[in-house]
Symmetry: C2
Subunit: 217 residues, 2 copies
C-alpha cells in the first residue's frame, strides 16, 4: 500500500514538473532579448574619407549582435548651433549614406531637432556638423532618433504571429515597467532576434542588455 502511495506521489510530481518545464519553455519562446543603443554614427566611405583621410579603413573593436555590424575604435564630435557632443562612436561597416542617431535629449544640447525614424528613412531629416581628426563635414540630412524596433527572422515572425513592417507594442516587467507602443517589426533572414531601444528609452524602464521583453499586439 505504502509503495503504491509513493508511486502515485512520484508520478504526480513528475507530471507537475514536466508541465512547469513546458510552461517555462513556452515563456522563453515568446521572450525577446533587448539591445540598448547609445548615440552613434554610420558613415559613407566619402564622408569617412573627409573626416579621417583618403581611403581610411575603420578599425573594428567589437561585433554587435546584428550579423556583420560592429563598433569601431573611431569616434567623432557632432556639433549643432547650440552645442557639441564628443566621443560619438562610429559603427561599421560603411553605408551608402551617412546617418547620425542621437537621443531626444541630445537634440536640446545640439539645438537641432530630429524625429523618430527607422534606419535609412532619411527624407527631410536635418543635417549636422561632424568633426573628425582630418576634417569636418556638414551633412545635408541624416540626423534621426532611432524609432524603437524589433529585429527578427521570418521564422521568428511566424512564431510571434507578426510580419515585417507591422507596428506592435512591447511590455516591460519590473518596478519601472510599462508598455511602449509603435514598435516596428523588422523581419528578414539576416537578423538576430532583438528589441532595439536607445539609452533614454532603456533607462526610463530600467532595461539593459540582459533584459527580456514580450510583444503585445
Amino acid at each position: 500500500m505504502d509503495n503504491k502511495y509513493e508511486a502515485v506521489i512520484k508520478l504526480l510530481l513528475e507530471t507537475v514538473q514536466s508541465n512547469l518545464a513546458v510552461e517555462e519553455k513556452k515563456k522563453d519562446m515568446y521572450e525577446i532579448p533587448v539591445g540598448v543603443s547609445n548615440r552613434h554614427v554610420h558613415l559613407s566611405q566619402a564622408d569617412l574619407n573627409y573626416l579621417f583621410g583618403e581611403g581610411y579603413e575603420l578599425k573594428k573593436i567589437k561585433d554587435l549582435s546584428q550579423p556583420g555590424q560592429y563598433a569601431c575604435e573611431e569616434t567623432v564630435i557632432i556639433c549643432g548651433p547650440k552645442g557639441a557632443i564628443e566621443k560619438v562612436r562610429i559603427l561599421g561597416p560603411v553605408r551608402s549614406k551617412t546617418q547620425i542617431e542621437v537621443l531626444a535629449g541630445d537634440c536640446f544640447k545640439l539645438g537641432v531637432f530630429a524625429q523618430p525614424r527607422m534606419s535609412g528613412d532619411l527624407n527631410e531629416t536635418p543635417g549636422i556638423t561632424i568633426v573628425g581628426p582630418k576634417g569636418s563635414i556638414q551633412t545635408p540630412d541624416g540626423l534621426i532618433i532611432a524609432q524603437r524596433h524589433i529585429h527578427m527572422t521570418h521564422e521568428d515572425a511566424k512564431r510571434f504571429g507578426v510580419h515585417d513592417g507591422q507596428i506592435v507594442s512591447i511590455k516591460v516587467e519590473g518596478p519601472r515597467g510599462g508598455i511602449y507602443n509603435n514598435v516596428v517589426v523588422r523581419a528578414n533572414d539576416s537578423s538576430a532576434l532583438e528589441f532595439h531601444v536607445d539609452t533614454e528609452e532603456a533607462n526610463a524602464m530600467s532595461l539593459n542588455n540582459l533584459s527580456k521583453i514580450t510583444i503585445i499586439k
Copy 2:
C-alpha cells in the same frame, strides 16, 4: 416644408455640437499636465552652510508648479568614483535632509547606483560628494532616482477615483506613446495637479511640460 427641414437640420447640428463639447470637457476633466524634472539637489541648511558659507540664503530664480517650491540661481557639482556632473540645479526651500535626484543614466557616469524612490524615502540610499564654492561634503545617503508620481489635491483624487499612496498606470498618446506602470498617487491639499517624470522618462515617450496624460487603473 423647406423651413421645417432646415430647422430639423439646425437642431440636429446643435445637439451633436453640444454633445461634442460635453465629451471634450469630460476629456479635459481627466487629463493631467506633465512636469519634467532634470537632475537636481535639495539641501539641508547645514549642508548649504558647508557648501556656500555660514548662514547662506538661496536665491530664487523661478517658482515651480508645486506651491512654495522654486529653482535657485545656485548650482553644485556632484561627484562619484567614476565621474562628476557639473551645474546641478539646487531647488528651494531648504529641507530637513539633503536629497540628490539623478537620472538612471547619470548613475553610470558617477559610478554610484541609485534606485527609484519617492522623495523623502532615503533609508539605505547611497551617498555622493557635493562640491560648492565654499566647500564640499560627502553625504551619508540621499541619492535617488525620483519614482514617477502624480501630485494632486484630495478633490482631484476623488474625481479620478484614486487615493493617496495608490499605485496606478498612466497612458501617453502620440508616436512615441505607451504606458508607465508603478506611478504613485500623492494626494494632499497643498499640491498642484501634475504628473512628475524625469527627463529620460519624458524623452522616451516625447513628453514635455505642455503634454497631458491620463490615468489607467
